[in-house]
Amino acid sequence: MHGFKIHHVLHKKDNTKVEFSPEILSKVQQIIKRYPEGRHKSALLPILHIAQEELGGWLSPAVMDYVASLLSIQPIEVYEVATFYTQFYTQPVGKYVLEICQTATCAACGGEDIMEHLENKLGIKAGETTTDGLFTLKGVECLGGCGYAPVMQVNTEFHEHLTTEKVDALLEELKNNKNADKAKESKWAEKFF
């Protein structure tokens, strides 16, 4: 169930200033225009995705308050949404979130072995982040790629037909930063929204 997890983070002091760049702000305005006059709240989910990507990788209270102010809605309206959807992180996460499907077909085709392998390799349990802040490991529900099981998603990219060798190679690649910020370079918000 999607519970309220917000109290875990509210006490954390957050001094970082949060603000979108002018380009992102104009993208936000463009998104808001997709909805009828007075229905700007509809833009909340897309904007939260962008906020999470652009403003630190997770939705801190300060980021959520900023989004509320952009849309002229109450902060609570943002909190209740952010805590409902699994793709929004209300706790800090690593640079790469490894989301491994644990559902039906993936489970039947080795998804749980992949998770176990990653837990051993990274020395953390599902839900935790490595101390260097590079990887967060997360078990997720069906990613809509069952025919290519087992499946994992890293940020926006899908990795399919996983084997332990493939996973190891991917970890190396991410560690060596070869593909670092690939999505960002090519204008993340523009590309996906």
Binding site: M1, A108, D113, E141, E157
Partner: protein
């Protein structure tokens, strides 16, 4: 080879681009539709007999005719691309390969419904599809098939892509509407139905990706011709997402007149079971439909060949049958542990329950805990009846069908594989040592 009408051009180089799609006859159905009145287009869809491809199988033409056209409010069409039902991945495939087929279907459907604003609700994990769709929409706009005054007919339409953020429940149409309004995905109590009060309390139709894409061939060939494909009330072709222990997992377009056995065994489709292992069970229509053991999925209780149709899969009701659902076909080989699989699915539903109704919120968690202890060799014999009992108390007692979807897999697993549940209670030592549910050569 079965006839392909949706995926006909899927292998054409560059078919995701406007010019190539157009060269292969793209947008001619739209040109044809715009020469008809909106009601005539709806009439063709009615004649086609096509049933919604999102899971419930409700006839699309009939659904469209319920849309309140008298109200002065704007009307909306929402294309449901949330695709989160475990076992289902066809909509993603269709959008990725044939984005213009969907866009054309959306324009025709919007025209029929008198809609000037259409949203495509894409599940948040499929961000890459948003780029593909936006590009197709741009191209259609540039070529005057979309936007203001389409092909000088005076009809105007905007299509916007909207992103979800990871919540299975947002595939349910009223939860999707809430989510599109920027809220938590809590399903609404029906009535009122979206056809009268949907997005922003305006008349709204929510249809699945495949449903809306299929409007294109329906208009091209005419509703009557479309209705000749398939059998009985299962007209047309259906995309099946095939996964599990088979040789050729993937998305297949089938004419709804082939047998389950042909689908599973022939090289044109699943290509038989992986490593030649015997089939143990199949979930035929996505995780929410009842699981069937091999003998009941291949033949009905009357000994007839089970067909890949709405009617045949449902033959025997829930006692011996199942549902076509969203066409998520998952095959399990003989080593699969049904108890673990049932626990897995129940964990899924518990995680995805929006929490509004107590039977669903509490019941899914309760079933998950009981199944977890059974799976780990810590169960008791009466847990099995307890599970049946909980599932019965969820079914039919909730705001939205997620409750039923959580109850059916449990009830059907116990109905057909009770011996395997009992085995878990009687053999805790063996069960505890089984890794990840691989119940190798299990014999009761």
């Amino acid at each position: 080879m079965g006839r392909k009408i949706l995926l006909e051009n899927i292998d054409k180089e560059g078919i995701e681009r406007f010019d190539v799609y157009r060269k292969h006859g793209g947008y001619t159905a739209l040109e044809k539709a715009l020469k008809l009145t909106p009601d005539e287009v709806t009439e063709e869809v009615k004649k086609s007999g096509m049933r919604g491809r999102g899971g419930a199988g409700f006839p699309t033409g009939m659904k469209w005719s319920f849309l309140d056209k008298k109200s002065n409010n704007p009307r909306y069409l929402i294309c449901n691309a949330d695709e989160s039902e475990p076992g289902t991945f066809k909509d993603r495939y269709l959008i990725e390969k044939l984005p213009h087929l969907l866009v054309e279907g959306l324009i025709i459907s919007s025209y029929a419904l008198g809609v000037n604003t259409c949203y495509i609700y894409v599940r948040g994990e499929f961000k890459y599809l948003i780029g593909i769709l936006n590009k197709a929409i741009c191209e259609a706009n540039a070529n005057k098939f979309l936007g203001k005054n389409i092909l000088n007919t005076g009809y105007s339409l905007d299509i916007h892509v909207h992103s979800g953020a990871g919540a299975y429940i947002c595939g349910e149409e009223t939860a999707q509407i809430e989510s599109l309004e920027g809220k938590r995905g809590n399903p609404r109590i029906k009535p009122p139905f979206p056809a009268l009060k949907g997005l922003y309390d305006c008349p709204t139709v929510v249809n699945n990706v495949e449903t809306l894409a299929a409007v294109v061939p329906i208009i091209s060939m005419g509703g009557e011709e479309y209705a000749k494909i398939g059998t009985g009330r299962s007209t047309g072709t259906k995309l099946i997402s095939a996964s599990g222990h088979i040789n050729r997992p993937g998305v297949y377009e089938i004419e709804m007149n082939i047998s389950v056995e042909e689908f599973l065994m022939s090289d044109e489709y699943c290509g038989g079971m992986k490593n030649g292992k015997p089939l143990k069970a199949v979930i035929a229509g996505g995780s929410s439909v009842p699981i069937l053991p091999a003998h009941l999925i291949l033949k009905t209780a009357n000994g007839e060949n089970r067909m890949m149709t709405y009617e045949s899969l449902a033959d025997g009701g829930f006692a011996t049958g199942t549902m076509l659902g969203s066409g998520g076909f998952i095959a399990y080989d003989e080593d699969s542990c049904i108890v673990r699989n049932t626990w897995n699915l129940t964990r899924f539903y518990h995680h995805e329950s929006c929490g509004q109704c107590s039977p669903c919120r509490e019941g899914t968690g309760w079933m998950e805990r009981v199944l977890h202890r059974l799976e780990n060799g810590e169960g008791r014999m009466h847990d099995i009846d307890l599970l049946t009992n909980i599932s019965k108390n969820i079914e039919g007692n909730t705001i939205c069908p997620l409750g039923d979807a959580a109850a059916w897999p449990v009830a059907s697993a116990i109905r057909h594989f009770r011996d395997e549940f009992e085995f878990h209670v009687k053999n805790p030592g063996i069960v505890k040592n089984i890794k990840h549910g691989s119940l190798k050569k299990y014999t009761v």
